[in-house]
Symmetry: C2
Subunit: 199 residues, 2 copies
């Protein structure tokens, strides 16, 4: 790509650094921004700066929020005795969109991954234990991702939390709804078989 303009090159490379934005998408987005009105480009830049400025982590659960504690921890109608443990703040949005969960959350900020050098001290596990010891927690639902790192994290957390006399559960694993048996991978199918329920 022959680009002889520093400001265009800088914009394309800044966009290219975003996840899932390849060089072609970055170029397309950059040209779109250049074509758009000045107010639209300003709005995008200000939205980035504003969000970065105002959003912080909830000091209780680690959710991304502009008020502390976040609206979930601050909501007295929710069940404060249940904590759902997730890897990332965005996982909370998935749960809230589903709408069936009325407890609180705890964000680990990742999952155990020895290969990537992520150990227990790199995650918000101590904060979770402190919350459990301080509050009247009845159940901890572990909703880490259904992959190697998430599974290892779930096992680790369970070993720490169960001895505190707390019920520890894990999201069910099995066939996704709307899925097709023909296309199921072996691991999912094995999990579905293992977790089969009587009808």
């Amino acid at each position: 790509m022959i680009i002889r303009s520093k400001s265009l090159e800088r914009l394309i490379s800044a966009l290219h650094r975003l996840p899932g934005i390849g060089p072609k998408s970055a170029q397309r987005l950059a040209f779109h921004i250049l074509k758009s009105s000045r107010s639209e480009a300003n709005e995008l830049a200000q939205a980035i700066l504003g969000a970065k400025e105002k959003m912080k982590s909830c000091s209780v659960c680690g959710n991304i929020t502009d008020s502390d504690p976040c609206f979930i921890c601050d909501d007295s109608t929710r069940d404060g005795n249940t904590i759902c443990v997730v890897e990332q703040p965005q996982d909370i949005f998935v749960f809230e969109k589903m709408g069936e969960y009325k407890g609180t959350y705890h964000v680990l900020m990742g999952a155990l991954s020895p290969l990537d050098g992520v150990g227990p001290d790199d995650l918000k596990i101590k904060d979770l234990v402190t919350r459990i010891e301080k509050g009247k927690i009845r159940e901890v639902i572990i909703a880490t991702n259904p992959n190697a790192e998430g599974e290892a994290t779930a096992t680790y957390l369970s070993k720490i939390i169960k001895p505190l006399g707390i019920k520890v559960t894990r999201l069910a694993q099995g066939m996704p709804m709307g899925g097709d048996l023909e296309y199921a991978d072996e691991v999912t199918l094995a999990k579905a078989l293992e977790g089969r329920r009587e009808l």
Copy 2:
């Protein structure tokens, strides 16, 4: 999506307005920006503002540039007697990447599209005619897109420019290189047949 933060909502909706960025991608990008360092977020915002501020249209050809005339119009080693007419500034980058073209360009800023209310006066056609009348142009290569609007624009331009005694050419249409005959659409195949060349 339950988002109770105005700044996050604002960022997601600003990103969602970009082309090809759906609601899920916008959310993913927003969370990435929130997780990234302050300097990285600043760099993105400043790159947007900087590009928007510095980049303008070349007063000769309409290319997006930070110097006027652009580096192509300003390059005396290029063949100023040949003009390649394109729809958008980004089309110039595609040509320059290919590297085989040594003439100049003219950006129409769109294509004729009566259904969308785009007529000849909405495109930089008058500027093109002025350039042709003023300069010693030998050939105008019409490189508008190979679709209905681009074809109509090419026909229109040809009718205007040919009477000025200028050679008007159009990019060849046919099978794309690396393509597979089995997957060729009928229109492309018909164009390829129509434009067949003796070996």
